[in-house]
Symmetry: C2
Subunit: 466 residues, 2 copies
């Protein structure tokens, strides 16, 4: 079981229509496996989406949200106090019961204080960092982000693990690749089942690539990073094949949120035909590239319209390992194996949250927005724009607009870019809302929000000592 | 030699990233052939682009433009007086010398008066119409558009060839498909080389599909039309294979202009990640899906970044037929066979015209805009919008903005959506313009415009009698 998880946009892969088609390995992965065209992050931001993947639960349930303001995005910077609660059951904790050895390589992002350490939450090995690789910082008030090998902090970004912000050079993806290859070899040799969570971050600003990839893309530094990841995925799949375990290894490639258009074009990717990007609940913020690969099990060249979510990787992985999901809590992920293995289509909604607010819901091809917001006028006036070059009147609003009485409705088949709201007076609107409204009502009535973990920042909790 | 030519956007094919991936036959054509990712129409409007394909020359040379106003798009409605001048040499005229039998199926669009009849310009057979299938008209002041079989008018759209505007049902694509299959069979039986110009129009508003395809797409009626065309192309390629002539037949699929976003989402397609649509010289108006297919000659699964144009089909076809292009006139098309057969990359610019004005030029990955214009405020206030949902400040201007002194420059690799103009002060800007300026200067100095054919309308020239 191998999950590649990073920040990339729907439109960043050749198989999903990136205009320069520079991802031959991922495109081959898709040709040998299955493309999921309607696959979603659990949140338009990294931390909550990662917590959702590992718990199978919406951030509003597992605590990865804030109530500090309405519909506010939040994640885990260095000074955040919270993290993944002990009460949450993570995928590796459960897989352990079936004898799996679990490793995370890369960005954890579920809290950096001692109690949140990944090895306390089911992982057996870790090579990577608790937070984003922002920096360099001053190392007095603000230390650089640490990297860990298992329990031990082995250094810091910029100081010990170089990232050259001028040239964009860093060999981190190569380190992460080597870690992955070695872990796979070791597990194959010891005949133990494994879960590898390859949570790399080269496409997250500050974007980086190693020397061999710098300048190789038509797309600039961001494209160089994509090419290096593409190359790495190719090497990992090739390694599985060489070791003869590809038919025993379920591999999934996807992203924690849409491309960050605020960082485009130099540090941000593409959301293809979709509206806006990271931080928003328009399709560009949460519709993700997704490829499932499992030779001999998932038919080659498959294309699925199954509505999927990163939370489904929790339930699907458990199912493939012969385990049951915990019965004492609401799990939002579903077992996708009927869709992946038998081409079935399972009816299920997608809930789009931003912080504590249910912004939108997708049922079938219809998406109803209960709230719309791109970003505030205040931010916008400073040049921060989550939807650069896009402006759909009444949709990409700079104030939070409530539509709970009369949701804005889009047909994502005819209008994937969310540009043409359906007429409220149309029969189609009435019929679609008759399907959607009960789903929303039931969700809201039964929702028990978790204790918000991302409400409190305190500089005293920063990882400042080795 | 078979050219499929219609109105479709870059983002309408699965192979180019359409979110619902509903074109399995065209995607297979791409997998068996070569995707051209940087292929352009010769104009953002149908008539001029079609005239350019058949003459290998820019509309400003072959006369398919107007000087009635600056940068004004023009085509051939029923009452236009002009058409393809006798002085122009068309691809079928030249292919005839090498023994080719030439047929056009579908929309001619190079003038409807007797002197412009396709059989007077090199074609041996015709099944189709001189103009777009607009209508129904009143048949008094404004007759419905006629359909011809060779010299004979055999009926009219709506009266004799039904298009149900309410349901979108019409079996015309099936008629055009049958014509194509029969022509190919006949040519194969008589062992004569052929040029089939399959110029269908189901994706041009009013969009239509036959009964078997209605309601089959996630994308509504437009998608139904795309699916029927996809199915038809699959049947044509299968027919070539069944007859054993696929290795002798060069097939090219492309479009005459970008998706018409004014008609979206019900009657218009998708330009994927590109800016604006039909009628504009932004990428969405002229960047086209393009697939070259020739088993045994063009390597399967190829992807080319060769800058190409529909005008290249003129020069490439002549080359493949062993003929020379005419030496007595400027030909804008180039022979793409080195790119298609040997994977070479030929350096050449792309000129973006709108009517009589050179709006922009692409050299390598750089595109310089000398004029920007989406559409007028007057049209815009009436709800006509060539860039719905898109608004790039200073770029998608509603007045004609001149930038000839200091062109707006984009890097189409980093920024395919033309959202981030390069800083005029940057070194990159200086260096790119040093490459582009001489190309533009030479083009302008040597340009001899043709006599504009699309200046005069006169109701007296409408085809009103059978």
């Amino acid at each position: 079981l191998l999950v590649c998880f990073l920040q990339m946009g729907w439109g960043d892969l050749g198989a999903f229509g990136e205009p320069s088609k520079e991802t031959p390995n991922l495109d081959r992965m898709a040709a040998e496996g299955m493309l999921l065209l309607d696959f979603y992050a659990a949140n338009p931001l990294c931390s909550p989406s990662r917590a959702a993947l590992l718990t199978g639960r919406l951030p509003v349930r597992n605590g990865f949200y804030t109530t500090n303001a309405h519909a506010r995005n939040a994640y885990t910077p260095q000074d955040i106090v919270g993290g993944i609660p002990d009460s949450e059951l993570l995928l590796p904790e459960l897989l352990k019961k079936a004898g799996y050895v679990n490793k995370i390589i890369g960005k954890w992002h579920l809290g950096h204080r001692p109690q949140f350490h990944p090895l306390k939450h089911g992982f057996d090995e870790w090579f990577g960092s608790p937070n984003c690789h922002f920096g360099p910082f001053d190392n007095r008030g603000l230390p650089n982000i640490p990297l860990y090998r298992d329990w031990e902090m082995i250094g810091r970004y910029y100081e010990d693990f170089q990232i050259d912000l001028k040239t964009g050079e860093a060999n981190l993806t190569q380190l992460y690749l080597q870690e992955a290859l070695e872990f796979i070899s070791k597990q194959q040799a010891s005949q133990q089942p494994f879960f590898l969570y390859w949570a790399i971050d080269a496409t997250h600003a500050p974007v980086y690539a190693s020397k061999a990839f710098l300048g190789t893309s038509q797309r600039g530094l961001y494209g160089d990073a994509v090419r290096e990841i593409d190359d790495s995925v190719g090497k990992i799949l090739g390694h599985l094949q060489k070791l003869g375990i590809s038919e025993n290894t379920f591999v999934f490639f996807t992203s924690d949120n849409g491309a960050a258009l605020i960082s485009a074009p130099k540090q941000g990717g593409s959301n293809g035909p979709f509206l806006c990007g990271k931080q928003t609940t328009f399709e560009g913020g949460v519709r993700e590239p997704a490829i499932a690969w499992w030779p001999g099990h998932i038919p080659a060249g498959g294309v699925s319209h199954q509505l999927g979510s990163v939370m489904d990787l929790f339930s699907t992985s458990l199912s493939l390992a012969g385990l049951q999901p915990p019965g004492d809590r609401q799990i939002d992920g579903i077992d996708l194996s009927p869709a992946l293995l038998q081409g079935q289509l399972l009816d299920r909604p997608i809930f789009y949250y931003r912080g504590n607010e249910l912004m939108a819901v997708r049922v079938g091809l219809y998406k109803a927005h209960y709230w719309t917001w791109s970003n505030s006028w205040e931010e916008h006036s400073k040049g921060i724009d989550f939807c650069p070059g896009q402006n759909v009147s009444g949709v990409t609003t700079h104030t939070q607009e409530e539509h709970t009485k009369l949701p804005l409705l889009f047909h994502l088949g005819r209008d994937p870019g969310e540009k043409y709201p359906l007429s409220f007076a149309s029969e189609e609107y009435q019929q679609a809302m008759e399907r959607i409204s009960p789903v929303v009502q039931q969700h809201k009535e039964t929702l028990v929000p978790g204790v918000p973990q991302l409400n409190v920042c305190d500089k005293a909790v920063m990882v400042s000592s080795p």
